[in-house]
């Protein structure tokens, strides 16, 4: 190693140091602390702190509220992410073809995405209002009991989340579409490809990786979803919209069960890491397509 590369290396480390220190202090240390907490019975305000081994996890294994929250999290993640991807890609395709009003469309999309999710939740609380809400006023006599019916509450929450997060997918895909060279389409045209064939053989394959990336971000966010159901339904009715993070929050900050709540957090953490790992494998660089 020459003196020059060594110096460059040292400089690189120096530049990385603040990030590493911040990551360790803000993520690694508290992360390990949470794992440690999850192995204890800990209710600090009542002076309860003793090692519990895997007790908390053993209780989780037979806790119906935990399993219900796990199912809700899975359903919420699968449905909301699937809808967001489908609609997001469709909206991006529509926007890319649009000649006029594209700026307006983009601004409207950004508006929904830029809104804090608590505001979105409040907005939907009024839209879903059983008697005065816009949705039920439009439905007239067929008014629907959105948030009070255990079968409809989760779909209602998913709808609100799709409205908020779909623009993220749409904007990513739209940006990718803009970088596809026009020659590719011209070539496809020369080869006699119709509209559908162009979409299926040229556009969608080129969108593939960016869609996968959007899928990664959205899945991780959906697994940790909290604000929207917390404000909209509080997890109800009958716990049908309570996700794992809502359950963790209630255990930590309302029931003040730090050990038990941390055990739920550890499960969420494992889920998120597992999903991230699986996606990153899929995203590993292959033969470059474009």
């Amino acid at each position: 190693m020459t003196g020059r590369t060594r110096a460059a290396r040292r400089q690189a480390l120096l530049l990385l140091a603040p990030t590493l220190v911040a990551l360790t202090a803000l993520t690694v240390y508290p992360g390990c602390w949470v794992v440690w907490l999850s192995l204890q019975h800990r209710v600090p305000i009542f002076g309860v702190a003793r090692f519990a081994g895997l007790d908390n996890f053993a209780f989780l294994a037979v806790d119906p509220r935990f399993w219900s929250a796990a199912r809700t999290t899975a359903a919420f993640t699968a449905l909301s992410v699937a809808l967001e991807l489908l609609l997001g890609v469709a909206v991006a395709l529509a926007l890319a073809r649009q000649q006029r009003g594209r700026r307006l469309g983009l601004s409207l999309l950004l508006l929904a995405w830029a809104m804090p999710s608590v505001v979105t939740a409040k907005l939907y609380e009024w839209l879903y209002h059983p008697t005065a809400g816009l949705i039920n006023v439009l439905l007239g006599a067929h008014a629907i009991n959105w948030l009070g019916d255990p079968r409809l509450a989760l779909p209602a929450v998913i709808l609100a989340d799709v409205w908020r997060s779909m623009p993220f997918v749409a904007l990513l895909c739209y940006a990718r579409l803009r970088t596809i060279p026009a020659e590719l389409y011209e070539a496809a045209q020369v080869d006699g490809a119709g509209r559908l064939a162009t979409l299926g053989r040229v556009t969608l394959p080129l969108l593939g990786r960016i869609v996968l990336l959007a899928l990664l971000f959205r899945t991780l966010d959906a697994l940790r979803a909290f604000d929207i159901m917390f404000v909209l339904t509080g997890g109800g009715p009958a716990g049908t919209t309570e996700t794992l993070t809502v359950y963790a929050y209630r255990s930590l900050f309302q029931m003040l069960q730090l050990g038990f709540g941390s055990a739920i957090s550890v499960v969420v953490f494992a889920l998120v890491m597992g999903a991230a790992w699986a996606y990153l494998r899929l995203l590993r660089p292959r033969a470059v397509v474009a």
Binding site: V34, V43, P44, H129, N145, Q254
Partner: protein, 421 residues
Amino acid sequence: MRRLLLVLCVAVLSGCGGSALERGPVTLVFKYARILGPADPVPELLHEFEAAHPNVRVRGEALPWTSDEQHQFYVINLEGRSPGFDVMMLDVIWVPEFARAGWLLDLTPGLHPGELAPYFPSTVEAATDHGRVWALPWNMNVGLLYYRADLLGKYGLAPPETFDELARQVVRIQAGERDPALDGYLWQAKQYEGLVVNVLEAFWANGTRLLADDGTLFPEPGRAAEALGFLRGLIASGVSPAWTPAADEELSRRAFGDGRAVFLRNWPYAMDLFQARDSPVRGRVGIAPLPGLAGGPRGAGSTGGAHLGVSRRSRHPELAVDLARFLTSERAQKAIALGAALSPTREALYHDPGLVRSRPELPALHALMRAGRSRPVTPYYLLLSSTVQPEFSAVLVGLKAPARAIGDARLRLSHFLDALR
């Protein structure tokens, strides 16, 4: 997860901060939820306190909006030993928990004999744990029945004393009005604290409780199941609309205020809004005690409200106690009752001529407040509440039988309470 990390960081950082040298005048920090409306009377009161204590500055700092966030704020800061505030506004249900956690200053030694006598006894009970007083009652709430006086009058009906009567009146008025948009009885069954309050009121009406004095949960499970079944029946029979399991205070208050219901269970604050100049129900609303069950005790509303406590970490405990005392004094409570739709904790104010002139409902409220009952006064109240919420909600949407929900709640609670012992 992200929140948890945040907490831990705050806990770590707050350990390193603080201990700034004190210079010049003493500053007290008062944490409270801003009072909505044209005039928040609190800043004026804080200036008055400063005028009487020349070397003291008081900073009023806003708490987050929702009760959940306020609780979270206090837990993080108090558990992290932050000395950032002196006097704090507390939801009445937190007082025993905070006292047991050692976060509150024991006010008992400084109390003059008879100092607490002017307050409603239930507010003092809620501020007491193990015979010590931990907070001073600041404002008060009680569950009550709002009814449409014009509609009841039209059919020659008096406000109902029992739920059977209420149900009959709803059927009669709905049949007569032939308005499909007119609902019967509105109350709160969204899965949150308000649901527990409504269920407790049904328990009391059926002569039972959630927590016995000896700590037994659901001391009479049969009666509790009956009360839950009765509430489910209100929804199933259509006396209360199908959306009741999504209703919180504001949602139900809005529907009643738009003239879309005959009866509403809510807190006293709603009256001001019903009597506002542009309200569709202005001048047509009456208040009455909550109905009871036939043959049972008279209905009682659940009490709520805010207390003022002093942080054990306060650097100026004597001054902080003085401030809490000043803000709960008759003068201050009168100013607050005049400027905002909050009701005092001192009984005499309900008959104060100056106050009654601008708040004519106060004398009627007095009897309701007196008859009101506290939610279980226990340090585990939030554990109790967040455990029973999904169970009660499951009964009210018809997913679980009442007896099973009670059994499941008991099982879970005993698991957590065992770890506390």
